[in-house]
Symmetry: C2
């Protein structure tokens, strides 16, 4: 922790300052927008951007990760809280903080249990499908706000023209900025990096412009809704909690914490690779857990590392988490100056920034690559996206887990197993399907190229059964364990049963090339004593001893 502080060099400062300023200007509209997605007052999004990144900087290991509100996690928050409280109510805000607290505690617990390997959970296609589905759900959810329609009603006939014009105009401006602003700036002579970063600040500019229009054109009198009163001052430390809802929030907190971790890691890993730095997933869990607990204690809601914001942070020159500390300080400062102008921020313009932001998440390149490369992965992507759209974002997580899980089990259940033969004139044994190798009558040598565990013992048993059935005169089965790094308890039992079965059929079960650590374990079990055969140090020794025995026996 704070590893970066001990190794801080002066040369890192300019990059950190520029990144800190740029991300702060990106964070103000984004934080408010994502608070709206979560069904919370916009100022809560700024609260949740102050303490969480500071705590992440203390415990996390990514130097460029920007922790704060994030679209998908906000959507999960809204979807969790909608059945429990009315959006905008005090209970709703309390429950949002409580969800952040529970998610944070889940993450901390996972970090302390050191189960950060969970980060390798979703396949990239499943993550992409989840993101695509969520982006569509979020964009559709913002259409009423964009058009000034009341949430509850049928929104199309209910469009409020001034709101729709403002929202539509902001949307067009942002889309234009997204497509052309970077190249325009480059043509004007800015460096590509500066041009790209400038384009990322378009939302701030559009939001400021739209806010200026509200008093100028009297839009409030026309019925354009604004964010309304934004309390000045820093969020105060308090834990708002409702005893009635702990249980209802427990399962959603597990899902939310899980996605907080997966989303943050998938972004951080890409950036870490670019900087050739190493993430420690267990510290990441603790950093994200602390960030969410911090968010809860300052009246916020669940937060995570945002891929898009972290990429801007990185591009703007962030070298260390000092950049995020600068961002947090600027946001805290923004709350200490008069915030009256924030009250005039028109909701249709904020909806437009959300829609354009999530359009950036609607990325079909993974789908296109997977479709050409591995159709099953492409179908998993589509199924996850469809799951989010049809069943909601929580069910989408479950669908994604089930599909990734299925892929894992399927893969584990197909270990590579080779029948070995002896390369003539040598002591080398190779796969008879790939090499010209001798076999000995009555002797079957099988090499399993995977650790033996519950996920593949059945497949190993079936393959043994098949190979023996294909060689009815088999008298000795030698399992060559040169590639077996571990044998778990399930596989130990399976070996014991295999041994008993082969014994009744008059077939010996022998083990060769058992690795040291595996042998140490096996000595703790009863398998070796019961073994209906022998242990051989090398496969060549097994071959010599058993083929001699066979020759002797048949003579």
């Amino acid at each position: 922790m704070l590893h970066w502080l001990r190794h801080y060099r002066r040369a890192m400062l300019p990059g950190d300052i520029s990144a800190g300023v740029v991300v702060a200007m990106m964070m103000i509209p984004q934080g408010m927008a994502y608070a709206l997605v979560a069904g919370l007052p916009p100022v809560v999004g700024i609260y949740a951007s102050i303490v969480p990144p500071v705590l992440y900087a203390l415990f996390g290991t990514s130097s460029t990760q920007s922790v704060g509100p994030m679209a998908i996690i906000s959507l999960m928050t809204a979807s969790t809280l909608a059945p429990l409280a009315a959006a905008g109510s005090a209970l709703y805000a309390t429950l949002a903080a409580q969800l952040a607290l529970l998610s944070g505690l889940v993450l901390l617990a996972c970090g302390l249990l050191r189960i950060g390997f969970m980060a390798n959970f979703f396949s990239r296609p499943v993550m992409s499908g989840f993101t695509i589905g969520s982006s569509v759900v979020i964009a559709l959810g913002q259409l009423p706000a964009l058009l000034g329609a009341s949430r509850a009603g049928a929104w199309l006939p209910d469009v409020h023209l001034p709101s729709a014009i403002l929202g539509g105009g902001a949307l067009l401006l942002l889309l234009a900025a997204r497509s052309w602003l970077a190249s325009l700036l480059r043509h004007l002579g800015f460096s590509p990096t500066v041009a790209d970063i400038g384009a990322k600040l378009a939302p701030m500019a559009v939001v400021l412009g739209a806010t200026a229009l509200v008093p100028a054109l009297g839009l409030e009198a026309l019925g354009v809704r604004t964010t309304g009163n934004v309390p000045a001052g820093l969020p105060f430390l308090h834990l708002a909690a409702s005893h009635d809802h702990w249980q209802a929030l427990l399962q959603p907190a597990l899902l939310t914490g899980f996605m907080v971790f997966l989303i943050s890691m998938s972004g951080a890993q890409t950036l870490a690779l670019k900087r050739a730095e190493k993430l420690h997933s267990n510290y990441e869990l603790i950093g994200l857990g602390a960030a969410n607990v911090g968010s809860a204690l300052t009246g916020g809601f669940p937060v995570t590392g945002s891929i898009s914001r972290s990429a801007v942070n990185f591009a703007a020159g962030a070298n260390t988490q000092l950049a995020s500390l600068i961002t947090a300080s600027l946001l805290a400062l923004a709350l200490c100056v008069p915030t009256g102008w924030l009250a005039l921020l028109p909701l249709p313009a904020l909806a437009a920034t959300i829609i354009v932001a999530v359009l950036g998440m609607f990325d079909t390149s993974t789908l296109r690559t997977a479709w050409r490369y591995d159709r099953a992965d492409a179908l998993a992507l589509i199924a996850t996206a469809a799951g989010v759209l049809a069943l909601g974002v929580e069910a989408g997580v479950v669908v994604g887990v089930a599909l990734s899980m299925g892929a894992l089990i399927w893969r584990a259940s197909r270990p590579h197993i080779a029948v070995l033969g002896r390369i003539p004139g040598t002591e080398h044994f190779r796969n008879v399907d790939r090499y010209t190798a001798d076999t000995a009558p009555g002797l079957l040598l099988l090499r399993v190229d995977a650790g033996l565990f519950f996920g593949n013992v059945e497949a190993v048993n079936e393959r043994i059964e098949d190979e023996i059935a294909a060689r009815p005169c088999t008298r000795h089965l030698v399992l060559v364990l040169s590639a077996v790094n571990a044998i778990d308890t399930s596989a130990l039992f399976a070996l014991g049963e295999l041994n008993a079965m082969l014994r009744t059929r008059g077939i010996g079960l022998h083990l060769s090339e058992v690795k040291g650590p595996v042998m140490d374990r096996l000595k703790q079990s009863e398998l070796l004593a019961a073994l209906n055969g022998r242990l051989f140090l090398s496969t060549a020794m097994a071959w010599d001893a058993l083929s001699a025995e066979e020759a002797h026996g048949s003579r």
Copy 2:
């Protein structure tokens, strides 16, 4: 399907008949008892033992599996339905059938999707923990019935003495039979097999004896509760369904279907190994699915293959599913003769048979073996049992899934990776940690001994980063893919990112010994075109070309 019928030989008939009769005598008390565990009238347990085994015989692949009511699945049924309807109500029975229907449809869908590899899901310790926890829950649940206490009240002061004496007596008799009857029969000159089977019929004898005592001693007048009116005649075909509860039953049906499959497979696999026969897990899914749909259509509840009953079936000589058809016919016949005597069956005696049956499931041998052999597996067992006891049987399944899953991901996230060197004077390349092998300056050869996929790409990346950090003058990284049977879409992206990262650091990325099917896939991608290095047929070729290049470059 019906493979066994086409290959039926006359010599198989005696075994099938004796097994059919024995299992029928075991099934009557067991079916009624497990219906009580599920909160249903006892006769429903007999209904659920008629059509399901017939449908399983049509579609399933185990020759000795006995499909019908089973303790754990009955517990899951009760736990699912308790919040939805009052036990004993018509709605409750309707929902039990509906749960069987949905579970059956889930199983059929899984079978048609050919995802039978799911059977390799629970590790044996997790399954053992689940069984132990469930057996305790079931036994505790039967104590009130054993002692004649009313379910709702505090049962200890509420004990009904005549019931408690009858129940306690039955319990002692059954425990004595369990411990000594088999050896007693063997001493009386019966063969070990006959003695063992005789001991298994003790529950039937005790239940018959207790039933005879009811009118003899006027126990009903004393307040001993009996099963009451048992309607004669076969169950009629009908689908009782409640539209209101489809949704509430959907998630429990997924869990129930999953456990039906896991429980049935774990028993069937043990028996299949003994008979050297092969199960087809996809047909098993279809057989169990059809059995549950059949149970639903005849007013039953979820059923599965019972390990203990199938073992008796096997021991009593069953050669084919004809044995189960005989059992089903005998049970149908039993419902066609006057069933008045069944009404007198005292519930305390039935509770005693349940308690003794689930004591047989309380098997700590797996725990003891795991404790010595692999402490982590032992802890997973204990955690699963504790999960069932503390959180209930459904949560126990989820805990078991999470633990098995965690083990899978953990294992997948630790692929074996070797740095290779050349064995002097040969073209063989081996792990430098295990062999005396030459390395070349600037050249790093890494062999990954696992397919590359989302579960291990991060680990591979990290290892590459570490190895390069340990050899700062590395100019060429050769990934030796001789053991890589597949590269999924996630790993394809990761390789692309690795390639881009190495390019910026001036390190070439080369691939050697790419297998044919893997290469065919890679040709569909953009990786090969973008590769910052070359493809080599053999590692020796890579070594020669790249070390010559290095020597040339440094000269």
